[in-house]
Amino acid sequence: MEKFERFTKGLSRGFEWLGVIGMLAMFVANLVDVIGAKVFKWPLPGAIEILSFALVVAIAPAIAYGLFLGTHLRIDFIVDKFPRILRVALRPFVSLMCTILFILISWKGFEYAYSLQISGEKGGSSHIPFSPFAYILALSCIPVILFFILETLKSLKAKR
C-alpha cells in the first residue's frame, strides 16, 4: 500500500509540474500577445487558441496533486457530526463514486480525443490540432483514479 501511495503521489506531482509548464506557457503567450499587439502592432497569431490550449495543460494535470493537498473544496463539518460508524461507511462509498466518475471521464475522454484525431480538427487561426489536449485531459484522470482507488483501499482497511 505504501509503495502504491508513493507511486501515485509521485505521479501526481509529476503531472502538477506539467501544469506549471502550462501555467507559465499561458502567462508567456499572453505577455507576448499583449506586447506584440500594443507595442509592435503585431499580436501573437492564434493567441486566443494558444491560451485556451495552455489552460487545459495547466489545469487538468494539477487536479490529482490538489487531492493529496486537500485543495479541492468539500464540506467537512456536517460529516464530522455523524456517528463514527456512518462516517466509516461513507468514506469508501464517496471514494468509489469518484473513482467511477474519473474512469468514465478518462475512458470517454480518450474516445473523444481519438475522434478529434481522426477528424483532424484544428484551431481556426493557430492550426494547432485539438486532439493532443483532449488526450492530456484523459491522461490527467489516471493519477486521479489512482488516488481514489488508494483512498477506497485505505478507508476499507480502516473499516476493518
Binding site: V20, L51, I59, A62, L69, L73, D76, R91, I105, K108
Partner: protein, 433 residues
Amino acid sequence: MSSTTIGILGIVVVIVFFIIRMPIAFSMAFVGFLGFSFVSSFKTGLSVLPREIFEQLTSYSISAIPMFILMGFYAFSAGLGTRLYEAAYKILGPIRGGLAIASIFACAAFGAICGSSTATAATMGKLAIPAMKKYGYDDTLSTGCIASAGTLGILIPPSVIFLIYGFMTEQSIGKLFISGIVPGIILAFFMSAAVYLMCLKNPSYGPKGPKSSLKEMVWALVKVVDVLLLFIVVIGGLLYGFFTPTQAGGAGAAGALIIGLVRRELSWKIFIDNTIEALRTSCMILTIIACASVFGKFMTMARIPSALSSWVGGLEIPHFLTMFIIIAIYLVGGAFIDAIPLIILTIPILYPIVVSMGYDPIWFGVIIVLVTCMGVITPPVGVNVYVIKGIATDVPLEKIFKGIFPFLLAIIITTILMIFVPSLTLILPNLVM
C-alpha cells in the same frame, strides 16, 4: 417522471453528495452526468461528460481567472502588501483604533491588486495581527477586523468572484469590476466606523499608536505609487478596452513581477513557489467551473431555470420580496457552502429570474459579492476566519467569530444601502462606460 422532477431530484442528490463529503466539483459532475443520462440517454450522458469538461477547460474567457490569481500571488511575493500596510499604518496609526483602521484600508488597497478575500486576509493578517498585538490591541478586534476586511479583496477590483459571475452571465468584466469600487470604499468606511465605535466604547480595545512625522507619511505614500500605477494600468486598460480581461490579468501579473524584481523582493524560488500556489488555486476554481457545467447542462435539459422563472413570475408577491428571498438563499447557502461553488451552482438557476424581474445584472453581481462577503466570515464555513486562525494560532476560534460581528453588521448595512440605492453601484459603470 417529468424532466423537471428529475431536475429537482438532481438538486437534492447533489446536496446529499456535498453533505457526505464528496468534493463539490466532482459531486456536480457526477450528478450532472447521472441526471443527463436519465433525461436523455446513458450514451449521451457519457459523451457529454468529457466533452463539456474539455470545452470549459479550453475556454478563452475563463483563462482570465488564472491570470488574475497569478497577479495576486506575484503582488504578494513582490512585498506590495507590506508597503501598503506601512503606508496606512503611518497615516492612521496615531488615532484610536488606528492600527485596525489602517489594516482595513490596507486590505482595500491590496484588494485593488488581488482578487481573493483569503489571500487579502492572509497577507494583511501576517503583517497587521503581530503589529496590533505589539500595541496592546484586543485579540477579538484585531482578528475579527482582518478576517472581515479581507472580504474587500473580492469587492474592490480585480475580483475572482466578479470574473466568475461575469463569465457565467456574459456581463462585461470591466463594468462589473468598476461597479465594486464605490461599495468597496463605503464598506471600508463602515468597517472603520465599527472599529472607532468599538474603541470609543472600550478604549482598551485599540490604544493609539505612535505618531509619524509628515515626512514619514509622505515617504510611505511615495513607496506605494507602484501599486496605484499597477491598478490604473490593469483596471484602466480593461475599462477602456485596451486589454481583454485575460490580457489585463497577464499584464497585471507581469507588472507585479517587474515590481518585485526591481525591488529585489523576488527570487527564482519565490517565483516558482508562487506560480505553483496560483496554479493550485486556479485548478480548484476551474475544476468546479468545468464540473458545474455538466450539472448546468443537466439543469437546462431538465428545464429547471425556465420552470423556476415562470413559477416565480406567477407568484403574486412584489419583486423586491423575491429578491430578498434570493438573497436569503445566498446568505443561508453561504454559511454552509464555500462562495465560489455556491455562485457557480446557483447563478444558472437564479440569474434568469433576476433578469426577468427587470433587475440590473451588474447591480445583482455586486449584491452577490456583498452577500458572499458575509458568507466568508460567518460560521460554520467562514473561510477567512480559518485563515486568520492559522495566523493567530493562540486566539480561540470562538473569539475570532465573536470579533467579526461588528464588521458583519457593516457588510449588512452596506448591502441594504446598495439594495435601496442601486445608483451607488451603477454610478461608476454608467459614468465610465
